[in-house]
Amino acid sequence: MELIKNGKRIDGRKFDELRPIKIEVGVLKRADGSCFMEWGKNKVLAAVYGPRECFPKHTQNSYKAKLTYRYNMAPFSVDDRKRPGPDRRSTEISKVSREALEKVIFLEYFPRTAINVFVEVLQADAGTRCVALTAASIALADAGIPMRDVIVACAAGKVEDEIVLDLCQEEDNFGSADLPVAISPRTGQIHLMQMDGILDEEEFKKAFDMATKGCLEVHEMQKKALREKYEKIGEVYGNE
C-alpha cells in the first residue's frame, strides 16, 4: 500500500492537514454536559455528570472533587467487533485522559463530590483518544464545570519517511510512529503525551510542533462550537 504519493497522503491530505471536523454541543438530555464530535471517520460522544454526590461515601475526598474518566468503545465501532466491556487499552486511555484533566478542572472547589466523564467511541478511525479528550473538554464546559482552559488533543506521526499530522486508520496501521498530545492552549503546557514507534530527536521535535499546531487549530473549533450553541438561542429570541 502506498501511503504517500506525489506529496499527498492516502486520503488526499497535505502533510500538515487535519481531517474534517464537526462538533455539536449539548446533544443529550440526561447528562449535565455533552458533546458529539465527528473527526474524519471517527464518531465520538462525550458526556459529563457532576459535580454530584460521590458514592461510595468512603471514596469521597474532603479537599476536592473525585474525577473519573471512562473511555469505552462500542462493539460495532471497529472493523473486528469488539467484545463489550473495558479492556486493557481502554483502561490505560482512561487513566492518562483523566490525568490530563486533573490539573485543569478546579476540583478543589467541590470537595466531597464526584465529576464523572464518559466517552463512547461509536465509530473508530485512528486518533480516538484525542477525539475523546477534545470532546470531553467541551462537554465539561457545557456542564458549567469551572476550568483553567478548554484543553485539546491531537496526534502527529511518521508515515513512510514523512512526519504528518492527524493519522487516519491506514496511516496508523502501517506508519512507523504515533504521538498523541493534549495541551492547554492558553499556557502551552502539555497535559497528555504518549508515543509509540520510532522517532529520532529531530523527527520528534517536528512531530511535537505539528501536533501542537493541530491542537491550536482544533481549539478554535472548540470555542466556536461552544459559542455558537448559545448564540443561536440569542438569534432566535432577539439580541441587541
Binding site: D32, R148, D149, V150, E231, G238, N239
Partner: protein, 193 residues
Amino acid sequence: MKEIVVPGDKVDGKVESYVFREGNNAYSMVLGVMDKKEGYDKIVPLNGKYFPQVEDYVIGVVTDVKRGGYVLDINSPYDAFLASRRRYDSGAVIFAKVGDVSEVRSVSLTMDKQLYDGELMEIMAVKVPRVIGKKNSMVMLITEKTKTDIYVGRNGRIWLKGGDIEKAKRAVLKIEMEAHTDGLTDRITEFLK
C-alpha cells in the same frame, strides 16, 4: 450583543466572580455570558449545579430526621442541615435561608418556613436571578398576571400555589430557556397576556 466566554478566555481585570487570576490577568472559569452593565462587567454562567452561598434563600425537602434537626435535600451535591424545634415530616417542603457554609461545604439552614400543598418545579440554578428579576420585578410580574403564589429558591427550586398555575409554570420555563437574551421582560409580559 452579549459576549459568550469560555473557560480560559481573558477578561477585564475588574470582573470578580467566576474568574481566576494568573499573573496580571483575569480569565473566565466557566462557559458564560459577559454581562456589561452600568460600568461593571459580570460573568453569568450558562450552566452548572447550585452551590450554597450564605444569605441565599433556598427551597429544601426534608429527607432525614436527626437529633435536634433535619437533613434537607437542596438540589445540590451538598445536603443541608436545619436545626429547628418545629416538627417536620419526611418530604416536607421548607423555605429557608443559608446561614453558614463550612470549608468542606457542610450547609446550615435557618429561618425555616414550611410550604404547604402547592407544586414544586426545578430549573437551572444559574437562571434563577432572571426569574426573580431586578428588585423582584419578574416574579412579581408573573404573580400579578396569574395570581399564583410563588416562592423562588436560589437553588433552582420554585414553589407555586393557586391561580393559573400552568401559565405561571410555563412562564418560568420560558425564562429559563431564554434567560441570557435581551428583551425578555417584554416577551414575558406579552406571553402572560
